[in-house]
Symmetry: C2
Subunit: 448 residues, 2 copies
């Protein structure tokens, strides 16, 4: 291997040039790796070019399994939900929960708000009361100057909702912000919001520099620090729920009656409300479902995650996003989660599979997609907690993990059966399975 591990102008190389440099300088078997990386390219050059355009310095495609969770009854409408996830059991669990609730009235969801947010952060040494006294005038200027940018969004029924002056000088000397709320309709709105905010920043700068109310010198100096959307949108919120008489829950493995299952389930959810260590894992399970649909529809899972986790910590302690009650014979399980999603804009129409995801869901509006995704999160959470409080989760996980490894090692049916027998109730590791399989293949399985 050469030691040429730094490079100038990498981004200017052709795709093949990039791969060549990477495999020659970092891999033991460059030819083989190059062949494997190229094997994942799409055969249609235009499709591949489109995909490469989404990011930079691309050399291959990273394939994620695209699966379907059918039988989701949500607000009376039936969906087959597209899910992109590399973790085993997630799609199976969502499907199982969907089927379970299909017979019990299905899932329900309601959007509680669609408000997006953005901020212009600035430093200013002037008197706050002066700025407040002319703030209405400033707002008018801000809206007027941004009109060319907001016109189209207004035609679609959205736009700037409100502009607020926030004084943060008690936390940091001279620090203020314009806190702006938006309605961005069916788009996630990041580009729109950032464009408006950058325009607002220019207007703010000019307004303070030239308005006669401000004294000469330092009161005219405003320092725009940054203008950017906030991914924390607690009022872009959706509620999803399931409910049924406790008696209708049925019986469960482990010999649970409906009543005992309901109470144990509710207790498990309460634990996730009161213990942050449990809350993190509980919410992680919700996101297994949520992110899978977010990815499948080419939305941005980092934005979704950051927002909802901040929301989970809003009262000063990190808590479960879902809640459960068993009262007056009714089992009720629900989830409040902020989800800033788009069904137009971004990659939604551009990604070759994501566009089919949206068609599969019946071309939903952003509100409908919020409802669908919140329900999938709730379904995932239901399946996980049900499994945790009854059989435990390891049984299923280990079985799937073992099957993956056997698959990878090319085990035939007979070999697989022997290995599965051996590992029943044991911890599955790649090395352990390979060693045992080797032994089976050498006809020495019994000795291991």
């Amino acid at each position: 291997m050469s030691s040429n591990k730094t490079i100038s102008g990498f981004s200017k190389l052709s795709k093949t040039g990039k791969i060549k440099w990477v495999v020659e300088n970092f891999f033991k078997d460059p030819e083989h790796v190059m062949h494997e990386l190229k094997s994942w390219w799409h055969h249609d050059k235009e499709q591949q070019r489109l995909l490469d355009g989404f990011s930079e310095n691309t050399i291959s495609n990273f394939p994620m399994p695209f699966g379907i969770a059918p039988n989701f009854l949500i607000n009376g409408k039936t969906y087959a939900v597209p899910m992109v996830i590399e973790e085993s059991s997630v799609v199976a669990a969502a499907s199982s929960a969907a089927k379970y609730w299909l017979d019990r009235g299905g899932f329900h969801a309601k959007v509680l708000g669609m408000k997006k947010l953005g901020q212009v952060h600035f430093s200013w040494r002037g008197k706050a009361e002066k700025l407040e006294s002319v703030f209405d005038e400033l707002k008018e200027e801000l809206r007027k100057d941004a009109a060319p940018i907001t016109a189209n969004m207004e035609k679609r029924g959205g736009g700037v909702l409100d502009i607020e002056l926030v004084n943060l000088t008690h936390l940091e000397p001279n620090l203020y912000q314009l806190k702006v709320s938006f309605d961005t309709r069916d788009s996630m709105g990041a580009n729109f919001i950032n464009s408006v905010l950058e325009e607002f920043a220019k207007t703010l700068d000019r307004f303070i520099s030239f308005h006669p109310i401000f004294d000469e010198n330092e009161e005219r100096d405003v320092n725009i620090i940054m203008s950017i959307l906030s991914n924390y949108t607690p009022e872009c919120l959706v509620r999803a729920w399931v409910e049924c008489p406790v008696a209708d829950l049925g019986t469960f493995s482990g010999g649970y009656t409906a009543q005992s299952l309901a109470e144990k389930f509710a207790k498990a959810v309460r634990i996730a409300r009161l213990d942050p260590h449990r809350a993190t894992t509980h919410n992680k399970g919700i996101f297994n479902g949520i992110d899978a649909v977010v990815l499948a529809t080419a939305n941005d899972f980092r934005a979704i995650e950051a927002c909802a986790h901040t929301y989970a910590a809003r009262d000063g302690q990190y808590r479960s996003l879902s809640q459960c009650t068993v009262e007056n014979g009714i089992f009720r399980f629900w989830l409040d989660i902020p989800l800033a999603l788009g069904t137009v804009g971004g990659l939604t129409k551009l990604h070759p599979i994501a566009k089919h995801s949206l068609e599969l869901l019946g071309h939903p509006s952003a509100e409908e997609l919020m409802e669908i995704i919140a329900c999938v999160g709730l379904a995932q959470n239901f399946a996980a907690v049900r499994s945790l409080v009854t059989t435990g989760i390891q049984q299923g996980h280990m079985k799937m993990h073992l099957a993956n490894i056997l698959n990878h090692l090319g085990a035939n049916e007979q070999e697989s059966e022997k290995v599965m027998q051996h590992f029943e109730g044991k911890v599955v590791s790649f090395t352990g399975v390979r060693e045992y399989l080797d032994a089976v293949r050498e006809g020495a399985g019994v000795k291991v």
Copy 2:
């Protein structure tokens, strides 16, 4: 379209059977969609079967761009970092920050702890002091019974570190937990931890049922609620940092001197410490980098996200994960983040591209991967904040988004140039671009 939107036994259908049911019941042009979904399958059936095994009900592969950010100097070693991300500018920004710090001593990182956690939650009506008085005895039993499961991990230098009894009866009647800490070496450890905990639960149940210290009747009744790892691992922590004399920062677009840039940069980071609305977006940017490498190495980004966001809220307010100081002429920018990662186990060796990611990084240990990923997060944050406090981010974003759309619409060079000219400084929307491009193509570009 038929209205056969629910189904029994979907998971039992063949892959082609699944696609057929989906396209026939949910799509307007079933043949075309089936063809497109199939076009993303890998031509090698074994490769495709492996990938399908990772999840359930799979019908296609969802391709994510696999890109390279070269020139990452971390603890004196140079890496080309694999990144899987669908968002434009992320890989370009990481590469730019890597190159920038390559000339300024590179990135530094240090693992501060590797402790993983798990919990056995249980209800019990007995006297806490009694259980505490025999807890050492219980611990011995727990370790002994789990020995067949822990033996292999102990050979690798890991295992159960400590077992603690946590009394939560002040929060919920009769609620306790075993809080268990683990060293899982180079594996993320979820399967190992869950297997140990489920074994612990059995021992706990038996111990309380039969130990002579407990009175008959209700003191012998323990109710195991659930046994599961905690994804919140604040002591599985890594610190990443960059530092250099302020003078060495150079000059920046917008006419910033090194000193003024450093101060403005530090102020932007302080704002993300004190304002949760900004903190969410700031940390989201860090995760743009982190998740891209987490995905590329087949680690679980939901686990990583849930953990670090909980950590960001640990003092009662959600805050920036990174911090910055400008003191005594030194610019210092750092990030503390818990990252529970694996470089063995799970899909790391199984995913056809992820295994090459790990080879590209030189087959790192889990500790080394923690350091690499924390540095990529810091690099991403550096690039984002630098861009925010100087030119703003829209200029670059809009350009890339426009290029994607033109690409999708098959615009030639001449057409692209006209459209780009028109949209300079304007908000880019798919519909807007298509309409203008149509006009250009009809030779009527000037009228729009």
